[in-house]
């Protein structure tokens, strides 16, 4: 299993390395949000909760990390669709990589990317005013990794239903923007208008952003949201294995 996991990781990494523009975008994206939107609004907004006040960068940084994880969800859908569409998933599984090796291999590189992104963006966020917390950083990375697994497993299940590129683009368009905008990444859930709170409460990213904020600022406390996230991630993982084992990889050719 481990050998197969390494094999899938190796070729996912090679594919990513060959897509230099995509790789660059993954690193520039969080920096752009921090340096422009984050820093710009930081001068305008201070978040007050009870007696405590927090600068906007501290508030928004975990959300920006969550946003990058959502971006990796779209990357995962792209890669998985290619793998399925061109019969590579079938080739790899038929050659004995196994469902487990395949699924874990496909989800590991996004976690490595998340770690790399955080190592690059964290010093910038500190420079812009985020309070330093080593424990908070690793706690954020840990929760972010679970979240990455959640979205990667969801991507595996979604791509099972995607038959072509236009369906893929439709799914991405219909999912990414509403998920991104309705989650409290750049605003506070408590202070949002009621209609937005209702919409936001239907978005899994909302709970994940809240869990990430807690992970950074209260790393000693693991909220119910975090445990729920682990449970749902495990369910999605099991569903991914069932989905792959039941999938007919090629069904249009006779």
């Amino acid at each position: 299993m481990f050998r197969n996991f390494i094999l899938i990781c190796e070729f996912e990494w090679l594919a990513l390395w060959n897509d230099k523009a995509g790789l660059l975008r993954l690193f520039l994206d969080p920096l752009a949000y921090l340096l422009f939107l984050g820093a710009g609004l930081n001068a305008l907004i201070t978040i007050s909760e009870g007696q405590q006040t927090t600068n906007y960068i501290s508030f928004v940084y975990p959300g920006i990390v969550a946003l990058q994880i959502l971006r990796m969800f779209t990357h995962a859908i792209y890669r998985l669709t290619i793998d399925r569409r061109w019969g590579l998933q079938a080739l790899k599984i038929a050659a004995g990589t196994g469902y487990l090796g395949y699924i874990l291999g496909m989800t590991f590189i996004p976690i490595i990317l998340l770690a790399a992104q955080m190592f690059v963006s964290y010093p910038i966020a500190l420079f812009l005013g985020l309070s330093f917390s080593l424990k908070g950083f690793f706690s954020l990375l840990f929760v972010g990794s679970i979240m990455t697994l959640f979205w990667s497993f969801l991507a595996i299940n979604l791509t099972f239903w995607i038959k072509n590129y236009s369906q893929r683009d439709l799914v991405l368009t219909c999912l990414f923007t509403p998920l991104f905008l309705s989650a409290p990444i750049f605003y506070s859930f408590e202070r949002a208008p009621v209609y937005l709170q209702i919409i936001s409460s239907l978005n899994p990213l909302t709970y994940q952003v809240e869990a990430m904020r807690s992970a950074y600022f209260e790393p000693h406390l693991l909220h119910m949201t975090f445990y729920s996230m682990i449970l749902i991630t495990l369910c999605l993982f099991c569903l991914s294995i069932i989905t792959l084992s039941k999938a007919e990889f090629l069904s249009s050719e006779i």
Binding site: N18, R79, I82, W86, G87, A95, G96, L250
Partner: protein, 295 residues
């Protein structure tokens, strides 16, 4: 010869109701190069995908006598390529799937890229390759896997005649090394020279399964040109054979057993005014056409 693949009463019905395979039973052996032929939609790709384990049969059993799934390599009819990986890395994937270490895979990939004539393109991304080159890339990947069973779905489509000949000679060598190769193709002329056995599939059933040497030696046809008319006695006699009217004054009789020739001549020559007789050995193309007519 040791059995490589054994199919028993294999059927595959798609959710849309199409019965792509209907009770197919076949035994394929190591050291054999088997040609799978048949018209479009006959079920060849379904059979290949089912053997490769990527489609589940509706009923029946498939036994692949291999120690490890990596011992079965498969080339799809479609361009099964990772478009984000350069040629060399796509081929390396085959070597890694075959169980090579990262270092070994590099040299095996290089070797196979050279073998299929893609060394100049080895660092390019596949979308810059022509259709034939993309096909060669897939072949190189399958060869790099070094599997004991090789299943190839129309691998010569898009290859130029030289590349096609070179590839078929390569897979002949692979079969000579004791491996089992199953190849589906419409390139009957090229297949005829290399395969050991022909399986003709039509409407999901095996219509013919025979060694190529027996098939081509045993089956031939005679064309007879004549003057005058064919009497009902002659027609009645011909009904026991497969025969057809070629032109107004010529007929063609398919001969499956050469021993019947004297009997045919002895009967026909006094009955009709024969002007010319041509005896031809069958080829795979003729056989294919006659099988298609028969179905």
């Amino acid at each position: 010869m040791k059995k490589g693949i054994s199919l028993k009463n294999l059927s595959k019905k798609y959710p849309n109701g199409i019965l792509a395979l209907n009770n197919v039973s076949l035994d394929l052996h190591y050291g054999e190069l088997v040609g799978l032929i048949g018209p479009n939609g006959a079920g060849k790709s379904t059979l290949i995908h089912t053997i490769a384990g990527i489609l589940q049969p509706s009923s029946g059993t498939i036994a692949c006598f291999i120690d490890d799934p990596k011992d079965l390599a498969w080339v799809s009819q479609k361009s099964s390529i990772d478009w984000y990986l350069p040629v060399i890395d796509n081929v390396k994937l085959g070597a890694r799937l075959g169980g090579c270490s990262i270092q070994e895979a590099k040299s095996i990939a290089k070797e196979n890229v050279i073998k299929v004539g893609l060394e100049k393109e080895s660092t390019q991304l596949p979308d810059s390759l022509s259709g034939g080159q993309q096909r060669r890339l897939q072949i190189a990947r399958a060869l790099a896997q070094n599997a004991k069973i090789l299943i190839l779905d129309e691998p010569t489509t898009g290859l130029d005649p030289f590349a096609s000949k070179q590839f078929l000679s390569e897979i002949r060598n692979i079969a000579n090394q004791g491996k089992l190769v199953l190849i589906s193709s419409h390139d009957l002329h090229s297949l005829e020279g290399v395969v050991d056995r022909i399986v003709f599939l039509s409407e999901g059933t095996v219509k013919l399964d025979q060694e190529i040497s027996n098939l081509l030696n045993s089956t031939s046809w005679i064309s007879i040109e004549y003057e005058g008319e064919i009497s009902s006695t002659v027609r009645n006699f011909l009904e026991q054979y497969r025969w057809e009217i070629l032109t107004e004054k010529s007929i063609k009789i398919t001969i499956e057993n050469p021993q019947v020739l004297p009997r045919i001549f002895t009967f026909l020559i006094p009955q009709i005014d024969v002007t010319d007789i041509k005896l031809s050995r069958n080829n795979l193309h003729e056989l294919y056409l006659s099988m298609n007519e028969r179905k």
